[in-house]
């Protein structure tokens, strides 16, 4: 389950001019890379697990 703000606080601070674009994008980029990394690795892991023969049934 996931719940959160549609427009997060940092984004609001940027659009309101309270946060410098360079700081906002540096933080957003770090977050995006970390989440993308976890998502891609998760997908790859699931794909590998799905494509490898099922040890339980192959015995």
């Amino acid at each position: 389950m996931m719940r959160g703000q549609v427009v997060p606080e940092e984004a609001r601070a940027w659009t309101a001019g309270l946060l410098l674009a360079t700081d906002y994008f540096a933080h957003a980029r770090r977050e995006a890379v970390a989440k993308a990394s976890a998502a891609i690795r998760g997908r790859l892991h699931r794909t590998r697990r799905a494509s490898s023969p099922d040890r339980e049934t192959s015995r």
Partner: protein, 259 residues
């Protein structure tokens, strides 16, 4: 993070190869224990030949597997970069800017104009930060009374001074105004390479080599031009162009007047 995990997997692969080599050495050791070490030159030659016969396929295999591993890792890194960019564009840029566009249309009078100025600044900040060019600079050229002047900019130091006009001797200005009127875009990989479309030649002393310019409009209202440039050639690709198109349309949606 990406590198750490890759190194871990690489060392695991090396571990498997070492285990394979260890198994061969163990087999040889057992043979020596059972039958004794070679005593003649012929026996030693046989051992050397056997070692080479085992080592060569192992070496070839290790090189091939390491290469495959490297290719997989590159593909994984590329996938992560693409996914991260998508998250940045959709989640961190389009969503908050769309919210500002909504607020522009809720406001009136002076507040609306302030929000519009803010919107222009947000769009150039996003364009310069999202497009891949190193030291990119994004500019919003506002169209007013038949001329375009820089209304907002972000990125590389030098502030834009160009004014695009419809004067007969301002060829670049005429072409830029036509681009806006026809709701077009243009991506130039290198302003110093080969033949360029009319009016896209850089002004003398320009510090950029590549750029993207996109018309900013909404319906029939022409509002200006959004551009991003970089001092390197081939700094932008199709993805950057699509980011610019989306940014220009968001800007147009916020700047348009009610009929």
């Amino acid at each position: 993070m990406v590198v750490e995990s890759g190194e871990r997997r690489r060392s695991r692969l090396r571990g498997f190869l070492l285990a394979e080599a260890g198994a061969v050495v163990l087999g040889y050791g057992v043979a020596v224990l059972r039958d004794g070490a070679p005593v003649s030159g012929r026996g030693w030659a046989l051992v050397v030949a056997g070692s080479v016969a085992v080592a060569v396929p192992l070496w070839v295999k290790s090189r091939r597997e390491l290469r495959q591993e490297l290719e997989t890792r590159s593909a994984e890194t590329l996938a992560i970069e693409t996914d991260a960019k998508l998250r940045l564009v959709v989640g961190d840029v389009v969503t908050p800017i769309a919210e500002v566009v909504g607020r522009v249309h809720q406001a009136s009078g002076k507040e609306r104009e302030t929000l519009r100025g803010q919107l222009g600044q947000l769009v150039v900040e996003a364009a310069a930060s999202l497009c891949d060019g190193e030291r990119a600079r994004a500019v919003f050229w506002r169209l007013q009374r038949g001329e375009m002047r820089a209304a907002a900019w972000f990125g590389r130091g030098d502030p834009p001074t160009t004014v695009f006009t419809d004067d007969p001797d301002d060829r670049r200005g005429q072409e830029a105004l036509l681009l806006v009127r026809f709701h077009d875009y243009v991506l130039i990989d290198d302003v110093r390479a080969g033949e360029l479309p009319r009016g896209t030649e850089p002004r003398p002393g320009a510090t950029y080599r590549s750029f993207i310019s996109v018309s900013v409009f909404c319906g029939e209202q022409n509002l200006g031009m959004l551009s991003v440039d970089a001092p390197e050639p081939h700094a932008f690709d199709d993805t950057d162009l699509n980011v610019m198109r989306a940014m220009a349309q968001l800007l147009g949606a916020g700047l348009v007047d009610r009929h």
